[in-house]
């Protein structure tokens, strides 16, 4: 089998899926995988808390990108979970021995090649294992700029981390990859679905409504939580947008890249314009991140600073409302 090609990606799930499919001859960019997988979303769930902080997400649920893009393109996967870590490592060795790169679900905390300050207990990290040298595994972690190696013990621990969304040794690889999938239809269907999900779900915490909902709540955080806790919550939103691997602006730039590629493929000016608009909205999200970081740093934490943050969010919501409403009829 040919050598595994490593490519630096914005996000672990879309990067891993794109890499595994590319190896099997289906050459799609990461934004294409992300877009066809309907990755873009927004939600703010005050009732679901992680470490006491409400969950904010700029994308769909973990593994949804892989599931949706595969359904739209007709890709089928094999996946296994294991009860015994030893059996899971033996199975991995067997896959690698037959020259088959595989995707693994891991916990970032136990992966030593990440800098200490980036290592938190997050169980949803995807990467590719493509070889073994002695006791070290050769990994292509899409969010790292080069390939890395990882000792067997560390990888085993990362694959059998416990807690929320425990990987239980999950390993996956494409079983069937269509030679010539109908990309145009998949792209149209995906854009339509994402646009509907962003604008039409009648729940206050999902899609564009979720952005406004966050804005309204965030404005009241200082009086409700006190200044210290409020700063912590703002920091967590900014981390979800920029720190966890989104390609910038909470996946907005990656989706703009997808719309650009889709626009060229379908020769659609509407999509190319939408890509430009989403780029501008992404810049606005970056402004939100800058304001949020200033607040966290304590340079500015008056009520007016929170109002400014909330207003920036509302401007992002208005942008995305307009954009996705138009996209529904553009494809």
């Amino acid at each position: 089998m040919n050598a595994f090609e490593h490519r630096h990606a914005g996000h672990c799930e879309s990067g891993t899926v794109a890499a595994l499919l590319r190896h099997r001859g289906l050459n799609l960019s990461e934004p294409m995988v992300f877009g066809i997988g309907g990755g873009l979303f927004f939600l703010h769930l005050p009732i679901v808390k992680m470490g006491g902080i409400p969950l904010t997400s700029y994308r769909d649920a973990p593994r949804a990108i892989m599931k949706n893009m595969s359904r739209r393109l007709g890709v089928r996967w094999r996946q296994h979970r294991y009860r015994s870590p030893e059996a899971a490592m033996q199975a991995l060795d067997a896959f690698l021995a037959e020259g088959r790169p595989v995707g693994l679900q891991t916990c970032i905390y136990w992966l030593p090649y990440f800098p200490v300050d980036m290592r938190f207990h997050f169980n949803g990290h995807n990467l590719v294992a493509y070889g073994k040298q002695g006791d070290d595994y050769l990994l292509s972690d899409p969010v790292v700029e080069t390939t890395v190696t990882c000792a067997a013990d560390d990888l085993k621990r990362a694959r059998f981390a416990k807690g929320t969304f425990a990987p239980r040794g999950l390993v996956y690889y494409p079983e069937h990859v269509p030679a010539d999938p109908d990309l145009e239809r998949a792209v149209r269907d995906a854009i339509r679905t994402t646009a509907k999900r962003m604008t039409d779900i009648p729940m206050p915490f999902l899609g564009v409504r979720g952005i406004r909902w966050l804005a309204d709540r965030l404005e009241r955080w200082p009086e409700k939580l006190g200044p210290e806790m409020a700063r912590k919550w703002v920091g967590s939103v900014v981390r979800m947008q920029e720190e966890i691997g989104t390609g910038g602006a909470g996946f907005r730039f990656m989706y703009a890249a997808f719309l650009q590629e889709a626009g060229q493929m379908l020769a659609s000016n509407a999509l190319l314009e939408a890509s430009q608009e989403l780029s501008a909205t992404g810049d606005r999200w970056r402004e939100f991140a800058i304001l949020g970081a200033q607040l966290v740093k304590g340079r500015e934490s008056s009520d007016s600073a929170y109002r400014q943050l909330a207003d920036t969010l509302r401007a992002c919501a208005a942008d995305e409302q307009r954009l996705f409403t138009r996209l529904k009829s553009a494809v």
Partner: protein
């Protein structure tokens, strides 16, 4: 974002790069490696300060004798009783009970070994506290 605007600032990434999508001079989206962004450094720093504060608090409690060394090692592994329960198979209640110094001191080796395995620590280290305050987190 334009490629020239991709932040290349002081960093938490320890020499690594983060992939950012940005538009080149022709407007085409490309992947650009960012060595760091102040915004990221601030919010990541906030999260890590929180971790460090919890470790310091647990260590101070253990030194005063109101908490067992388990509290310190748990904080150091960024765990709470819930997560440690998932790793060890002990109940949260039992783990909280083991945070008492006297209870912890009387634990048999086979219980301690399960904590040591779960937190990837040698048994001796689990029983002890670090000499200074400038100890390693990982």
């Amino acid at each position: 974002m334009k490629t020239r605007d991709v932040p290349q600032e002081e960093s938490i990434l320890a020499g690594h790069q983060r992939a950012c999508y940005a538009q080149d001079e022709n407007g085409h989206y490309v992947v650009v490696g960012s060595i760091g962004w102040e915004v990221e450094k601030i919010v990541n720093g906030q999260a890590n300060d929180e971790v460090r504060a919890q470790i310091a608090q647990a260590l101070a409690g253990a030194r005063r004798g109101v908490l067992s060394p388990l509290a310190y090692h748990m904080a150091r592994r960024q765990m709470d009783p819930g997560l440690l329960a998932a790793y060890t198979g002990f109940s949260r209640w039992r783990i909280r009970w083991h945070l008492r110094p006297k209870v912890f001191a009387g634990l048999p080796e086979r219980i301690l070994q399960r904590y040591a395995d779960a937190m990837q620590l040698p048994l001796d280290e689990l029983r002890a506290l670090p000499a200074g305050d400038d100890h390693e987190r990982l």
